[in-house]
Symmetry: C2
Subunit: 430 residues, 2 copies
Amino acid sequence: MILISNPDKSQWQEILKRPVMNTENLFDTVRSVIDRVKAEGDRAVLDYEEKFDKVVLASLAVLEEEQQEAENLVSEDLKAAIRLAKQNIETFHAAQRFEGKKVQTQPGVTCWQKAVAIEKVGLYIPGGTAPLFSTVLMLAVPARIAGCKEIVLCTPPGRDGKVHPAVLFAAKVAGVNRIFKAGGIQAIAAMAYGTESVPKVYKIFGPGNQYVTAAKQLVSLRDVAIDMPAGPSEVEVLADETANPVFVAADLLSQAEHGVDSQAILITTSVELQQAVKVEVERQLALLPRKEIAEKSLANSKLIVVDSMKEAIELTNAYAPEHLIIETKDYLSLAERIVNAGSVFLGSLTPESAGDYASGTNHTLPTNGYAKAYSGVSLDSFIRKITFQEIKPEGLNIIGPAIELMAANEQLDAHKNAVSVRLGQLENEN
Amino acid sequence: MILISNPDKSQWQEILKRPVMNTENLFDTVRSVIDRVKAEGDRAVLDYEEKFDKVVLASLAVLEEEQQEAENLVSEDLKAAIRLAKQNIETFHAAQRFEGKKVQTQPGVTCWQKAVAIEKVGLYIPGGTAPLFSTVLMLAVPARIAGCKEIVLCTPPGRDGKVHPAVLFAAKVAGVNRIFKAGGIQAIAAMAYGTESVPKVYKIFGPGNQYVTAAKQLVSLRDVAIDMPAGPSEVEVLADETANPVFVAADLLSQAEHGVDSQAILITTSVELQQAVKVEVERQLALLPRKEIAEKSLANSKLIVVDSMKEAIELTNAYAPEHLIIETKDYLSLAERIVNAGSVFLGSLTPESAGDYASGTNHTLPTNGYAKAYSGVSLDSFIRKITFQEIKPEGLNIIGPAIELMAANEQLDAHKNAVSVRLGQLENEN
């Protein structure tokens, strides 16, 4: 860990620097896989599964019997936990439903927005040692609430050709329609263009490695929407002298264990806390199974002391953390001053893990400073707002002449004419 | 125009085909301009203005005196029209303000969303013969309502080194902070990375040619958000036998005059209307100043007769038009069945031009079928929704054990531990 005290503003940029990601240099490799999937469909996906995931599959679709078998393999305790998390995610996202109101911008000019679900969405769940069933809930539950008709999930199988039972159980609980055994670039390509088995979708969600990220970027240039740009996960803890160093250390470590490029930052007004957290992180680290990963990530982790809470807030907004934990005495009023963050955790009993799993908020969030421009996944991510308008004679008489004049000045006479022919008829009728 | 009658569903894909856009083959050229602007700042932008826009500028910023001069050059009539349009856009977008509600997902677990404006946004307004002051309003008015602190506008100057007065006037009315004379790739790069004059922004909005589109795509891979993918503009008119062919023809032509790759489509249940519209388009076309452009675009335009309104709706949703005009007797109930469209215009007195200029809705809309996954620009485009959560002892006791179990099953023990240390303390306190 790097201890920093009262950095000058000129150093901020350097201190807050994140690992540089460059997926563009993967584009050629990735494009070739995408093109083959686009051209050859299932055959190509099956081949790539053999090549990259080292598994020979008879078919891509997860069968009903596999789903049933999985359900028997998940412990009742874990099932109950998944159901509780699902219920809270549902409660929070259902409250985000959009009700458009009709707005009369002028007498006889009525405009409104209506939320409509994206009809087909694709969810990508990475493989690897840890089964990310929590991400299944975070993506499929809001998709279902939004009213998406087709919710497709792709995830790479293990070498035994099976999908982790907890992933299958979470998918069932959350209402995923169809699950396919496909990972990496080939999964993204299959959902972007469709194959004999995998339906084409209109928007793709979910985390993944740099190849998955590059594939999502490439298909999103023209063919399908994606949730948001990806980057390594990160947490900032903003704390004063009232914070519990044991909690702060645990929160920093919960980020550090994600991966060697994870970022964990403490910004505090208390030198004592900075020191205590350092000691406590080292103590807790020694006990962790993922100690090696966390250790590497912590090498870049910063514990920063600043002069005032005002400066702490400014530094926080400059960093724009994906996750921000505020452990101070007046956390609610400080929260009001946060303008750049993905998700904010308030008070000493609100660890990031709560939002990662079960409090109800979404854990798919903008990282890498993207919080300055992007929101996390929410119900909004699964809908579009279509605008509607209806104009009556009174309304056209009010705004018609302005439209004619503006269109003429933009040298778009046919635009003008579309109003003129109508105003002409209204005049004739009188 | 191409007349089509009762097409078989197998032909739909071919009939609804749009012009293929490939901006990826411009990436190398575009990247070299971006890289130079990133490295050399204003100097590079000024050089490219000389090279591409054929104008030697002393500085990029539009000065207060230029702004003042412009105001004197715009007619009072046009000023009044711009102000009326601004007022309606403001009314409609102000009604979109988001009020997050606090949601208790469990006793002691409170979660909410808060809308926060994107602090710095960049608006791009293309140059060319027609000054797109309407687009200035469509982007700057919601940015201002959202509360964006820095609203930067870039637009290429004419060969006289000046920005069109109507663009400057609209920018002033709408509340743009700073205007720069820069076009094309160099403008996008300047806003994405900042130069000595042009501030770096977090999100870039606005239309442009294929180079602008490619530049927006490239910078959005890593460095800045963009409004949405671009494509040629398009309209679909959905009409029955009650529609006025004069109006329908005027609406199709108002799209066709945009550019040779614009799409204008009629879908109707009435053969008589199809015929009448064909005749009427030809009659009106002859009178248009932009006749040559419209003529080329109309060569690909389709007038399609289908068997039933049910089929018409299905075909419409498959096409996902940017603009959809419904001129039928029961337009309100048909509107309920539209799931894929950018903006819908209802009834015989609601031409697309109304939404293009002055009814209050936004005219920056998803084209090229993107309406299946994207919304048009709205107040949402200028904000982020940050999630907040606060957990009390009662809440952590309810969800804590589920979090511990889920984290352990995802092999993230530090995540589990962040809850365990807190539950441990709660137990000690009792």
